[in-house]
Amino acid sequence: MNWKFTGVILAVLSIFIFACKDDSKPDEGDLTFISFDPVPYNPDIPAGWPQLEQPADNPMTQEGVQLGRRLFFDPILSLDSTISCSTCHIPEKGFSDDNPLAVGIGGAIGDRRTMSLVNVGFVNSGLFWDGRAKTLEEQALHPIEDPREMNLSLSEAVERLQNHGDYSTRFRKAFGINHIREINADLLGKALAQFQRIIIVGGESKFERAMRGELAFSDEELEGRDMFFDANLLSLDAECAHCHNRPLFTTNEFLNNGITEVERLLDHPDPGLGEVTGKELDFGKFRVPTLINWELRDHFMHDGRFVSMEDVLDHYNSGGHRPSDPDEDNVDLLIYPLNMNQIEFDNLMAFLRTLSDTTFLENPDLQDPFAGR
């Protein structure tokens, strides 16, 4: 009887103890004790600029943007933690860099120049030089996995973030996840995309200010502007605005501008858009880059072949290269010898210099959060 009684007591105690033990063991991945109250982020968009569209499942919030900002500047997303997105997309370089071709982990050299991220949130025609990513959310993950960029698998990147106390808190605050295991590549892409959408640059350029009547163009700039936009019958038409129209100074189209001398479409050393679409006619086509803040960059074109804007204008003035067989020619028809004289050339250069705007460097949301650390 005693044994039986003792057994019952022990059983009851065991249940009690286990229950107590379960209650006392906190789930270390639980995030629900952290408040989730995101605040919408409303970026300043200059008057007359396009609408900044956001995916319904990734609206910009203060918390999301700040999380994206940290991830953008943090080398945690590279295999050996030596480089971050900002290593190649340097704010002071117009979110591009000094190199003719992108340089990744261990000095690996890519096939193309680092594309500027200026105003990338307005792109709706496909990201990268070749348009291979449809959304910023998708684009943001490519460099992490690319062996010649950050070379880190997304699973490893996610694991690092899940085990990082500060990031797990920030993912909770940005996306309302309940547990660290909910941090995944999808949310990583969303956070980086939110940050990239706020890289809005150019609203305080001399061009924009002159158009608002806040200051005046010089005579040279005015002549150059008329050439750029074909705004004056008496000025030479430099055909620039067809592809670099305001306000973004890119139409974000994919075009062949005749920089590569090939006789057959399939001879293009870099197929560009053609590699993505598989269409022969798309070989040698690349996304038109913005001219805003070109003065901050040291190399031009997808392969970084030109080292100055003068080189670029020389190319367009020459008319570029066209295959002798018209069947193999997909160079834009508005590329032809312009025959600019030196004065016209200088006027166009003067106008192009009005497209610089470095006020974005004072925007605290675009600055390196780890600076000085």
């Binding site: 936009f229 605005a241 018209p326």
Partner: protein, 264 residues
């Protein structure tokens, strides 16, 4: 018992009313689809334009049409007393059409769902952007609207580019086709409204009606043996200074279009 009878009566009445409502809704939902297939050709042969196809030009040279794009504004079908707006703006790129051999139709088409069923007798549209929309600019539109594209807007005109017609001419006669031409048009003055009168289009509930719209690019450039666009000497129109060229093209659209109903 009395209450039960009352409730039953109310229930039956409700069902009756609801079913009546359904009938009304079905009536209102009597809609069909209208598809317009474009056939961009050059000349009476009916050959499709293509960047690698050569066509004779009245000046003795051969040309190729590489780019043909245009806005269509205020598309509508109607009867004598009523009209239905299909769309306020459409943008169509006719360049390099691909023919589907089985259907005989190209890959250039636009479709309008939810067109009220009925017998219409005219189709109308404008070539270009209607003045009210042309007073706006790309920043006024979301990215899914063709009017949001800055590549289709020309600041110096304060206007959208209504149409683009670009190509090359074999001026040297050696097959090089190195003489390039590019005609872009824009500005309210160049907007033209075309109406196909006495063109019966019947939209049946739940069915698709198809129309083929042929655009003869020869008729866009050529009015007669001695009246044609001077591609050799005037190869470009990009500004208001070229209004004569733009108007010449705009006036030719009326004779360049042919409509054909594909379904009874």
């Amino acid at each position: 018992m009395k209450n039960l009878f009352l409730y039953s009566l109310l229930l039956l009445s409700s069902l009756f009313l609801i079913s009546c409502g359904d009938d009304d809704d079905n009536g209102a939902d009597a809609v069909g689809t209208l598809e317009i297939f474009f056939e961009p050709v050059y000349g009476d042969s009916g050959d499709l334009i293509n960047r690698t196809s050569n066509f004779d030009y009245p000046d003795g040279h051969e040309i190729r049409i590489v780019v043909s794009e245009l806005f269509l504004g205020d598309l509508k079908v109607g009867t004598g007393s009523e009209e239905f707006i299909l769309s306020d703006i459409e943008y169509i790129d006719l360049s390099d059409p691909v023919l589907d051999q089985s259907s005989g139709l190209t890959d250039k088409f636009i479709a309008f769902d939810n067109v009220p069923a009925g017998a219409y007798n005219f189709l109308e549209f404008g070539i270009g952007v209607p003045p009210a929309l042309n007073a706006m600019n790309p920043s006024d539109f979301g990215s899914t609207n063709p009017l949001s594209q800055s590549s289709l807007y020309w600041d110096a005109w304060d206007s959208y580019i209504f149409s683009k017609l670009e190509g090359r001419m074999d001026l040297a006669g050696d097959g090089s086709f190195s003489h390039l031409f590019a005609y872009h048009s824009g500005g309210d003055e160049v907007y033209r409204i075309l109406q196909a009168q006495n063109f019966p289009v019947e939209i049946r509930s739940g069915e698709t009606t198809r129309i083929k719209l042929t655009i003869d690019h020869n008729k866009l450039l050529v009015r007669g043996a001695d009246d044609y666009m001077d591609i050799e000497n005037k190869p470009a129109a990009h500004s208001t200074g070229h209004l004569d060229i733009m108007n010449y093209l705009a006036d030719n659209y009326g004779s360049a279009f042919t409509l054909q109903l594909l379904t009874d």
